[in-house]
Amino acid sequence: MPADTLPRHFRSPIGAWFAENGALAALVVLVVALSLLSSDFLSVTNLLNVGVQAAVTAILAFGATFVIVTGGIDLSVGSVAALSAITLAWTATAAGVPWPVATLVSLAVGVACGLVNAGLIAYGKLPPFIATLAMLGIARGLALVISQGSPIPMPEQVAHLGDTVGYLPIPVIVMVIMGVIAAVILNRTYPGRAMYAIGGNAEAARLSGINVNRQQLVTYALSGGFAAVAGIVLASRLASAQPQAAAGYELDAIAAVVIGGASLSGGKGRALGTFVGALILAVLRNGLNLLSVSAFWQQVVIGVVIALAVLVDTLRRRGTN
């Protein structure tokens, strides 16, 4: 096949990578702008801070990527994160369970929440929005019930997850590991490939022998499990599990996925894009703090920059096509 009939982006792998990760351009612009505006921004410490601050959103967003790739949505991730963390802290503290067991229980709770979501969606035929909105309330309520509304200290051994190893903050390490896991699942495993097929055309996927219901169970369970990890990381950073932790984070997580190039109608999305999306949000918040933007204006600026970031991407894409 003659080379000149090839779409341009097939030619160079780096070009392809950039073309498919348009959010990256926005991130680069943002980083350059902030480096110029604030002398404090471009230090190793600050960049590591940004990494730490991105970690929880990014981990939630990796989980949300699975769901969004299938064309679903998971509004419950913030609440599930809080419930998982509270479960860990409570079983380890009040129930006196050894911390490794408590951690497993906590992860199991996250996965269980995901399975309930998926059950309602796959077998109850509830729209994902409704099933996970219900879970948003249920998980948050349970977190409050278990904790009686008060923070519970995290077991010390787990709270080390909030520390640093040498210079590297552990939340950043966990984020990278979860990102790699997400990327491998999406790209290389059967459930991952099935997610794309289901999101692209669920009926065609079913007629190709994919058990759509079962794969949805896997998808939402993963989302719940990732939320649990995010919740544990968050609580470790604070050394305390808060019933109200991560409230509203679902919108940030979904935004990160969409900024990263996924489509809410399914079939598209990548772990790397999501990572970039989460970084954009974290860089933005960090930058506004460094620049001492007033509280009232911050929300305006964040809104404008999110819109611009994605606009840069869509315009660039239109330009090359």
């Binding site: 604030s38 410490t45 929880v56 509304g149 932790a245 918040r285 703090n289 460094l290 620049l291």
Partner: protein, 290 residues
């Protein structure tokens, strides 16, 4: 419905709308209220307005449908609570305002700690601990809430008296511990010379202390607000320099006590000021009892 009046308080139904239970401070307020209701033998129904003024109006409306004999309202917003209070008073149900006042209507009693005064106290305490000079960062609560507004205002007024104490940054962390941690981490980058922090509640203060690590209580003095159990623990540990303790349990007790009296038709004082007090390492243990 229930039969009214009577000497016993056994059949007195009281409704209480709390601004939010997503904060340990209000959980304590509720606990105090419940303890007092149990003691007096009244039936107390607590609802959570989730920081939404209109949901609070709904809840007060619902209390009137339930023929509550008295209502305790812990306003989400002092201005926005007025119509709800009016509606209750129209059907002759006495209303007690707890923790925050209600503007523009007269309630049977206001049991409150004064947030503006608390802000001023925080300024004084911080200035003193800093030796009347230093660079201060303010962690603001959710923008637009009255608690944030009033405490911020009081603190600004108070700190103005100290020429050498400068507010170098004001950033919102939405009364949230995790946000307090992140925002403080960022502010340390742009203001490495910070020596004092005023956080508009203990949750953010605890986040800031995490961010400061070993510097908290040493090079940097952090002052919180509320006097939550975790906050007081930090004060005792020396990582938090002080917290403006509001004695929420006492507030809750007092409010229910007044509500029961009002329901029985007894006359009660228009205002009961539950003092806000500076809790420092020296006196912190006293507050945990309340």
């Amino acid at each position: 419905g229930t039969s009214g009046g009577g000497g016993s308080s056994g059949d007195i139904k009281i409704g209480m709308s709390v601004s939010t239970l997503n904060n340990p401070y209000f959980v304590q307020l509720r606990d105090g209220a419940q303890a007092e209701a149990a003691k007096l033998g009244a039936t107390l129904t607590v609802t959570d307005a989730q920081n939404d003024a209109s949901q609070q109006v709904n809840q007060v409306q619902n209390f009137t449908s339930q023929n509550m004999k008295a209502i305790v309202i812990n306003p989400v917003d002092s201005d926005a609570a007025a119509p709800a209070v009016k509606a209750a008073e129209r059907v002759k149900i006495p209303v007690i305002a707890a923790d925050r006042g209600v503007n523009g209507v007269e309630v049977a009693q206001t049991v409150a700690s004064d947030n503006v005064a608390g802000g001023r106290l925080a300024a004084q305490e911080l200035a003193e601990q800093l030796g009347e000079k230093g660079n201060v960062v303010v962690l603001q609560g959710t923008p637009g809430t009255s608690a944030s507004r009033d405490r911020g205002q009081g603190f600004a007024e108070g700190i103005a008296a100290y020429a050498n104490v400068k507010i170098v940054a004001r950033q919102p962390a939405d009364f949230d511990r995790a946000k307090g941690l992140d925002v403080m981490t960022n502010l340390i980058q742009s203001h490495p010379d910070v020596t004092g922090v005023f956080a508009e509640n203990d949750e953010m203060a605890l986040g800031a202390i995490k961010a400061l690590g070993g510097r908290a209580g040493q090079q940097v003095k952090v002052i919180g607000f509320d006097g939550t159990p975790d906050g007081l623990k930090a004060v005792q540990a020396g990582t938090m320099a002080a917290t403006i303790a509001q004695q929420p349990r006492l507030l809750g007790r007092q409010a229910v006590d007044a509500a029961v009296k009002a329901a029985k038709g007894e006359t009660i004082k228009k205002t009961v000021a539950v003092p806000v007090k500076v809790a420092t390492k020296e006196n912190a243990s006293e507050f945990q009892m309340s």
